[in-house]
């Protein structure tokens, strides 16, 4: 017996074997589709039960979120507000610092320095988020409380700072990739016209890489929105409409964690809130990820 296809029986067996393997591999690919279907079905079916009792209008426009208190209210705005504060605060750190790091690594540093520094920055993204939560409470918050004595033990600022540090490498690495992909000829043309390095970096290379840079911003913000543990630990569990970063807030993700930590009975209206909140979270992050992919595809400057 051999499997080189010389005898007819072996040949046929081989064809059958190939078919089976092809089907098995196809099955592996389909698992990812089933995952997406599973997520959508679970979130939507449980949310339908929730929205049968709470009107979607109240859910989307209500300004009080207290499913576990009497009287219950189900206005998601305080949770959105908490998520927004963290997203904006962390972007204020990650976007300028990340982009400046990317420009330094791509335009100024020696290749050797870049090879060392880029992975070091990427370590920041590999540290588990629960560690950032610890760092936020035990290190950042005490510093904030020394500077601003009115800061709460749990506060949005410390969470935003640690999340900003966490998503920094996403901006710096992806933007650096985009900057590095800009052809040399563009830089040399600008130098030839007498531009300084600063002018080449900010007026030629950065605009040319803008689609990749913006895509990295969106991905980083989407990551900040979905971030859970650092926020649950450092920002606290007080859903409130506020713009004061020194107060405790609650994000959508932190709320979901809070419910699953408590002893809310499965299937109750209070429990179903996590699916409704999860659906909103899923839709927001999905929209941002699709947007970032679109920007990369549509607005990529194709050189040569």
């Amino acid at each position: 017996m051999n499997d080189t296809g010389f005898s007819l029986g072996a040949r046929r067996r081989l064809v059958v074997q190939e078919r089976i393997i092809g089907a098995l591999l196809f099955g592996c690919g389909v698992v990812s589709v089933l995952t997406t279907i599973g997520i959508v079905v679970v979130l939507v079916s449980q949310s339908v039960g929730f929205f049968a009792e709470v009107s979607p209008l109240e859910f989307l426009t209500g300004t009080r979120w207290s499913p576990q208190l009497v009287p219950q209210s189900f206005g998601i705005l305080p949770l959105l507000n908490g998520t927004l504060i963290i997203a904006i605060g962390s972007s204020l750190i990650a976007i300028p610092i990340g982009l400046a790091s990317a420009i330094y690594l791509s335009e100024y540093s020696k290749p050797r320095t870049r090879r060392i520094i880029k992975p070091i920055l990427e370590v920041l993204a590999g540290i588990p988020t629960v560690v950032y939560g610890y760092f936020g409470i035990m290190f950042v918050t005490p510093i904030l409380r020394t500077i601003f004595p009115q800061t709460g033990i749990f506060n949005a600022a410390s969470a935003a700072i640690v999340v900003g540090i966490m998503i920094l490498p996403m901006v710096s690495s992806l933007s650096e990739d985009a900057l590095a992909a800009v052809p040399r000829s563009l830089r040399e043309a600008a130098y030839g016209l007498g531009a300084t390095k600063f002018e080449v970096s900010t007026r030629v290379v950065t605009p040319a890489a803008l689609s990749g840079i913006v895509a990295s911003f969106i991905l980083a913000v989407s990551r900040a929105i979905g971030e859970t543990m650092a926020v649950a630990l450092a920002a606290g569990a007080t859903p409130r409409l506020t713009l004061n970063p020194l107060e405790s807030v609650q994000t959508m993700t932190a709320y979901i964690v809070q419910v699953s930590l408590g002893d809310t009975p499965y299937g109750s209206l209070e429990y179903r809130t996590i699916f409704a909140v999860g659906l909103v979270l899923f839709l927001i992050t999905l929209a941002m990820n699709l947007l970032s992919q679109r920007i990369t595809r549509r607005f990529r400057e194709v050189y040569e």
């Binding site: 997520i39 610092i97 330094y104 540290i127 007498g194 390095k197």
Partner: protein
């Protein structure tokens, strides 16, 4: 230049007068422009330094807090209400279970899907949908996977709050990362290798098994190790499926309840009593050392085989 961005549209930068002649005479103002350049360079360098310093400060802070509790006893004791007696034995065992089962579940599925997409899939709408879907799954927040695991594995399939339910949830979470890494590794295999194999009469699967996969394997393993190191640090999805419980026994079967290192760390960090915070820091040091070893092995693997090709 881009076909779509032809020069017909006036560039707004053309109106930028900062470099244009002033008073009708060109002034290079070189010194001033160089000064701006140096300032900018300094700012960018400061940005890089911010990232690096943040990392160093974080590591020092955690190590300083946690070093005091690290001992053999800390690694071999169960959690306890008394901080002096508490350890991370069940958490370490739970994390080991997770790595083992997630590898068993996600590795074959991920590599299989990658082989399908790179070697078998026809170029049609379904393949494009699969590919977009995988990219999107990689961006879904981990807590959403927790909700999925809770509804499907814990409730619907009746796994309960078990090791198996946790591992299945984390496997789905790591799957897109494994697929994308494996696809890149398979794509990097030169097609001449495949054609030589086909030329000798090998079938598609024989070509993949004997030629494509062996060459792509270091890349696949590197990506898988990195994906697993993410799974080890995951907390939120496991909290969702109910793994935050007091576990003072060894999980011995996949149906046992369990805890993992990040959850133990979360639990201790959350505690209002200060002695537990040092235990949390001790747990973090152990977790970071494990992650460091995994990442280092991934990098070594990559470097070793990168030179060969």
């Amino acid at each position: 230049m881009s076909r779509h961005h032809a020069a017909v549209r006036p560039d707004p930068r053309m109106n930028d007068t900062s470099l244009a002649p002033r008073g009708g005479r060109f002034e290079p103002r070189i010194a001033q422009r160089q000064r701006t350049g140096r300032l900018f360079r300094g700012l960018c360098l400061a940005a890089v330094a911010f990232g690096v310093v943040s990392l160093v400060v974080l590591l020092i802070d955690v190590t300083r807090d946690g070093l005091g509790v690290l001992s053999l006893d800390f690694l071999t004791r169960y959690p306890s209400r008394l901080p002096a007696r508490a350890g991370i034995r069940s958490a370490i065992l739970g994390s080991l279970w997770m790595v083992l089962l997630v590898t068993v579940l996600a590795f074959p599925l991920g590599v299989g899907a990658a082989v399908y997409l790179e070697e078998y899939a026809p170029k049609n709408w379904f393949t494009r949908m699969l590919q977009t879907n995988i990219a999107n799954l990689a961006g879904v927040p981990s807590i959403v996977y927790g909700i999925l695991g809770l509804a499907v594995f814990v409730r619907f399939l009746g796994f309960g709050r078990s090791v198996l339910a946790g591992a299945a949830t984390l496997a789905l979470l790591t799957l897109p990362v494994v697929i994308i890494a494996a696809q890149e590794a398979i794509r990097a295999v030169p097609s001449s290798l495949r054609e030589a194999s086909y030329g000798l009469g090998a079938s598609r699967w024989q070509t993949i098994r004997h030629h494509v996969l062996p060459v792509a394997m270091p890349g696949i393993l590197t990506g898988t190790i990195l994906a697993l190191s993410r799974a080890i640090g995951e907390t939120a999805p496991l909290i969702m499926i109910g793994a935050l419980t007091f576990i003072a026994f060894d999980p011995v079967t996949p149906m046992d309840s369990f805890t993992v290192l990040p959850i133990q760390i979360f639990n201790w960090t959350q505690d209002a009593r200060a002695p537990f915070h040092d235990l949390a820091a001790g747990g973090i040091v152990v977790l970071l050392v494990v992650l460091l070893l995994m990442n280092a092995s991934a990098i070594l693997l990559r470097n070793k085989y990168q030179r060969k090709l």
